[in-house]
């Protein structure tokens, strides 16, 4: 096991570069990213790496030691990074302008193919509050039984149940006693309220027992209710999990749970949050999630964006492996996993300040880090420095198709978000206008069912000043799923996604 950070790559110099080269490279980076000149959080993160690399390489003794260690390393590429701006030539402009940036991560093909089995360290944290009683809890049990069957003897498995009290019903251990594990699950009974913090904190302890960089360490939280008074604490747990390299995926059943909260919880760890609209879909969703976890090539993938001082990151949205809003104000951003034969991608929206002088300019530095599971390569890092041309005669070129495709769908999700925000401000007219507009756009992109749901919600808002909780979730997760349907251009047949369309079962008022 080794630290895979290449100090020469961090500074962007050749390994045989002279001391002068190293100093010049450091100075150039410092002028762009030093905290004194650049207030972007990503600049601070990356400058720490740069300063540390410089400290080592600028000291001839330290550099010799490092070079010796570096020779023993098996060199090689584990994943590649592709950074695509929406425009390569920008106009000279006295006002701010917007640029989109698609960052894609692809596993090295040869390694990805010979990649063997992935081992899971999986913890289920299951809600057994009173509201789970009946078909919901029964389907959860069936799903858990199926997961137990799927797991290999080398996988680590644990189960925590919670209501207003949490209990470890299966301690984290290799999956050996399957009948025993199943009978513990069968005994689950619904009672009490929903306190997610209790369940998640016990689940985290179980997962930490066997947390291992060579494993996919993951917690799946399944709930149907709003947690009581402990959301902030629970989010802190998520940050702790992310730090320990543990991902959290959150699934909400029915309409009562807090979607904003579960989105944040999952987003902070690079996990996924999903909406399960009927008990019947529980088994499919859970199995699909576990199957996806088993396809992992790299885990704990993070991306850091260090833009030049006059650029701000306005928003970020993970497109793959599953569509998920992420908080662009933190750096680095947790991306979760890179799957075998898959792509992990994220779309950024940047604002660039006024630009007066034509010529080439640097935009930003992208730093992606991840743990390559089977190779035991921890913290493998790839860096890309992106620049564009600024010109007085820039003409609008057709943006790359991948960006247009993702943006056209992300736009729908954003309109839905705007309607919610307007409603939260109490601006009913504005919310109605956004929902009607969403309906029109959905209809013209062939999403009749979702369009109907949007229209029904528009009417409801106009009449009652409120969204229905099921309609709100159907729209939010429905528009989000549109992003997953076709983002993988190489897999155009995959339009019938294996997940349930939350549009199903939505009441349509005519």
């Amino acid at each position: 096991m080794s630290n895979a950070q290449d100090l020469y790559a961090v500074l962007g110099v050749q390994p045989q570069g002279s001391t002068e080269d190293i100093r010049a490279a450091y100075r150039a980076l410092a002028r762009r990213l030093h905290p004194d000149v650049n207030s972007n959080p990503g600049a601070a993160t990356q400058f720490r790496d740069i300063a540390a690399a410089y400290a080592t390489l600028n000291d001839s003794m330290e550099r010799q030691k490092y070079d010796m260690a570096r020779k023993r390393e098996t060199a090689g590429s584990y994943f590649t990074l592709r950074v695509t701006p929406s425009q390569r030539v920008l106009p000279v402009l006295g006002e701010p302008q917007v640029l989109y940036l698609l960052v894609e991560l692809l596993p090295e093909r040869s390694r990805s193919i010979q990649h063997a089995e992935t081992h899971l360290n999986l913890t289920l944290v299951l809600d057994q509050s009173t509201s789970m009683k009946g078909p919901r809890l029964e389907r959860v049990k069936v799903a858990a039984h199926q997961i137990i069957e799927q797991l290999s003897d080398k996988d680590i498995f644990s189960v925590v149940t919670f209501s207003d009290h949490a209990e470890v019903i299966l301690k984290a251990a290799p999956m050996t006693d399957r009948p025993g594990a199943k009978s513990r699950i069968t005994m689950m009974q619904a009672f009490g309220g929903t306190e997610i913090h209790q369940g998640l904190s016990k689940g985290l302890i179980e997962n930490q027992r066997h947390a291992n960089p060579g494993y996919v360490n993951h917690i799946i939280l399944l709930t149907d209710g709003r947690t009581f008074m402990d959301e902030q604490q629970t989010l802190e747990l998520a940050d702790k999990a992310a730090k320990d390299g543990i991902g959290i995926s959150a699934m909400g059943i029915g309409d009562e749970w807090n979607d904003t909260f579960l989105d944040q919880l999952a987003g902070r760890t690079g996990g996924t949050s999903e909406y399960i609209n009927s008990p019947m879909a529980v088994v499919r969703f859970l199995n699909e999630r576990v199957r996806t976890l088993g396809q992992s090539y790299a885990e704990r993938v993070t991306v850091s964006i260090a833009p030049d001082a006059d650029i701000k990151v306005e928003s970020a949205f993970r497109l793959m492996p599953s569509a998920q809003p992420v908080n662009a104000e933190v750096d680095p951003i947790q991306l979760g996993a890179l799957q075998i034969g898959g792509t992990t991608s994220i779309l950024f929206q940047l604002q660039i300040g006024p630009m007066e002088t034509p010529g080439f300019r640097s935009l930003l530095r992208v730093d992606v880090t991840g743990d390559i599971l089977r190779e035991q390569k921890i913290g493998y890092k790839v860096i890309a420095d992106t620049s564009v041309e600024v010109s007085e005669t820039a003409t609008m070129e057709e943006p790359p198709l991948a960006i247009m495709d993702a943006l056209s769908k992300l736009t729908l999700y954003r309109i839905q978000e705007k309607a919610e925000q307007a409603l939260a401000r109490g601006d009913v007219r504005e919310a109605t206008r956004h929902l009607e507009n969403l309906a029109t756009r959905l209809l013209s992109s062939g999403q009749a069912e979702l369009a109907n749901a949007a229209l029904a919600e528009a009417k409801r808002v106009a009449n009652t000043n409120l969204l229905s909780s099921e309609g709100q979730k159907a729209l939010k997760y429905g528009t989000r799923l549109l992003l997953e349907a076709n983002t993988d251009a190489t897999d155009a047949t995959n339009t019938t996604e294996p997940k349930a369309s939350p549009g199903e079962g939505t009441q349509v008022i005519k």
Partner: protein, 164 residues
Amino acid sequence: MKICPNCQYSNREGILFCEDCGQSLIGTVSTLTRELKKGDTGQLNLKSSGWGTARFNSKSSIIIHIRDVAEPIVMQPEAQLVMGRTDVNQMPDLDLTQYGAQEKGVSRVHAAIRRGDDTLTLVDLGSVNGTHLNGQRLIPNQPRILRDGDEVRLGKLVLHVYFK
């Protein structure tokens, strides 16, 4: 800035889908282009309102910039200015043949600019490949108000119309 042709929201340069209504802004003229091509004071109003003026009185003339053609065409339109291609039987007021009209799918009688009370309207005269105003296709024979700085597309031929 880019004014959304659907909802008139002012979007920053570089935005690809209107930040308010989600309309695609590909092909929308930015006010940036106007600023570069037009140097008069009218652009200050234009900048604050986002839209070019629709006002066009008897003394005004129009300046038509055809894309990739250096010299603009300046005209004082009569009641109707028909745009198209010359043909044995037809002679449009503005003949676009020399600007590659044939290859770009301009019809013989394609569209017209008409004079109203202090305004101009653009109307498609049933052309084969359609007339677009600021990216939106016009319904034949339904006039639409033309504003200073608007982008007009006849088939694939792009022109910008300015008032003076």
